[in-house]
């Protein structure tokens, strides 16, 4: 009994699919003809392109219902186009400008036959296809793993941990509400420089209960309440007399303030 029901279900699905497909194709054909008549070949080609795009989109959306032959056909075409595109792009964007043009001396350069040398290690890759000499391809593979890991080793220091490297004590962004002269002191070393966004924030937050406290900007008071807004906003500045002036400024982004009654009413100026 179940097979009969499944059979009937498949048949109805097939009929519905065929009807829908026919309707779409007829509509696109008419649309192309109308523009073809009105604007000649250009108009026809334009609408034909739009029609093809519509068919591709509907084919992919048909996958939402279930995996069907139309989607499978469109998927193979997509993979074929993508492999073809990538192969052609690697040849025209990477290999020709960096290797072939230098070897044959394209656009006025002197042909440099030394560039024939990279071909030999390059051909080692293709020993992977052979049964007996597979180990030869291992040489080039391991060389590239060494390059990859060597670059990754230094990469960890440039991308995530880069900030300490720049070591630029005097970094001032003159944006209108970020008048921040980072005269350097230890807390700042880690606050926003150690790695993207600063490791100190991660640990400060893990250690501290993230309550928020906001002090008025104008008051310069040596003693300060110790609740932090999830990170330290201290900004030590050497003034001319050489004494340290501790100014605790509010964060320039007016984040929600969960404490400090006095502050709320005096939100002057900053939206």
């Amino acid at each position: 009994m179940a097979e009969v029901a499944a059979e009937k279900k498949n048949r109805t699905e097939l009929i519905v699919a065929v009807l829908l497909a026919a309707a779409v194709i007829v509509y696109i054909a008419l649309d192309c003809l109308r523009y073809g008549v009105k604007e000649g070949f250009d108009g026809f080609w334009e609408r034909f392109g739009v029609g093809i795009g519509a068919i591709c989109t509907l084919a992919v959306y048909s996958f939402l219902y279930r995996e069907n032959p139309i989607y499978r056909f469109m998927e193979h075409i997509l993979v074929g186009l993508s492999v073809g595109y990538m192969t052609a792009v690697v040849w025209t964007e990477t290999m020709t400008p960096n290797w072939l043009d230098r070897l044959v001396g394209a656009d006025g350069r002197v042909p440099n036959l030394l560039w024939i040398l990279p071909v030999f290690p390059g051909l080692l890759w293709y020993f992977q296809l052979s049964r007996r000499h597979v180990w030869l391809s291992r040489l080039i593979i391991m060389f590239f793993m060494g390059t990859g890991s060597g670059l990754a080793f230094r990469g960890q220091f440039s991308l995530p941990l880069r900030r300490a490297g720049t070591g630029d004590p005097e970094f001032q962004t003159d944006s209108h509400h970020l008048r921040r002269r980072h005269t350097f002191h230890l807390a700042q070393l880690l606050r926003s420089r150690l790695h993207r966004g600063g490791a100190v924030r991660a640990v400060l937050l893990l250690l501290l209960v993230p309550t928020r406290a906001e002090q008025s900007a104008a008051a310069v008071e040596p003693s300060r309440t110790l609740l932090f807004d999830g990170l330290l906003r201290h900004d030590i500045r050497h003034d001319r007399a050489g004494t340290h002036v501790a100014v605790h400024r509010p964060s320039r982004i007016p984040l929600p303030r969960l404490a400090g009654p006095g502050f709320v009413s005096r939100r002057s100026g900053r939206g």
Binding site: M74, T87, A88, R154, L205, L258
Partner: protein, 232 residues
């Protein structure tokens, strides 16, 4: 003996880039970095046909043996060669816009590849909703916490959601209930994203950076064990 040769090769592969990074500028080691980078790129570039050969082998086998669905393989092969030919023709004839080859190329790219890419990207919207529906079940305290945060962040992002707590804004001036004005869905969302989420991310970034460092050191110095690495 081969094992030792492979270890040396792996080490040499990464040596130059490490030295270029560590040694200061004056040693002049970094003048060649662009050149060496290009040579490595070219040698790596030669491998671009390997994957294609395997794909062609797979699909020609499917066609020759008439396995079910071989018409899809024919479509794939036709699309592949057609795209390669049109792209190379466009490159070598450096066709400009009103050439016929550009017309075909635009058809393949703007009319087939780009619509399908953005349609598959849009499938995400359907999958997000069905994944959220299927897997957000309050099985444990953490699951409840995760769902609560998700709802707050989502509500805080859309106008209708913000309206749910917008009436709290009126309390901003009242002396003893001033804090109530802050506890709104969008302000909590902002705080969650700006403070909690950002800090949690940094914890993971730091951990991953140190982990990546250790693994790259192990691979570079061939300390890594496991079937792939200590082969003869």
């Amino acid at each position: 003996m081969r094992r030792y040769l492979i270890m040396v090769l792996t080490f040499v592969g990464g040596l130059y880039f490490f030295l270029e990074f560590v040694l200061p500028e004056e040693t002049g080691i970094s003048d060649m970095v662009a050149e060496i980078g290009k040579v490595t790129l070219v040698i790596g570039g030669f491998a671009f046909l390997l994957g294609v050969i395997n794909l062609l082998r797979l699909h020609t086998a499917k066609i020759t043996m008439r396995r079910p669905g071989y018409h899809n393989s024919i479509a794939l092969m036709v699309a592949l060669f057609f795209m390669v030919i049109v792209h190379l023709w466009k490159y070598y004839a450096n066709a400009d816009d009103d050439d016929s080859v550009m017309r075909i190329y635009n058809l393949l790219w703007d009319r087939i590849r780009v619509p399908i890419d953005s349609t598959i990207f849009s499938l995400l919207a359907f999958y997000i909703v069905s994944a959220a529906y299927r897997s957000f079940r309050i099985k444990s305290a953490e699951a409840a916490l995760m769902m609560g945060t998700a709802v707050i962040v989502m509500l805080g992002q859309i106008p209708m959601g913000q309206k749910v707590t917008l009436w709290l804004k009126g309390y901003e001036t009242s002396p003893d209930w001033w804090w109530l004005a802050q506890v709104r869905v969008d302000t909590i969302r902002e705080w969650l994203m700006q403070v909690m989420n950002a800090a949690a991310q940094r914890g993971i970034i730091l951990g991953a950076a140190v982990g990546a460092l250790a693994l790259s050191m192990r691979i570079w110095l061939s300390l890594e064990r496991g079937s792939f690495f200590d082969r003869q």
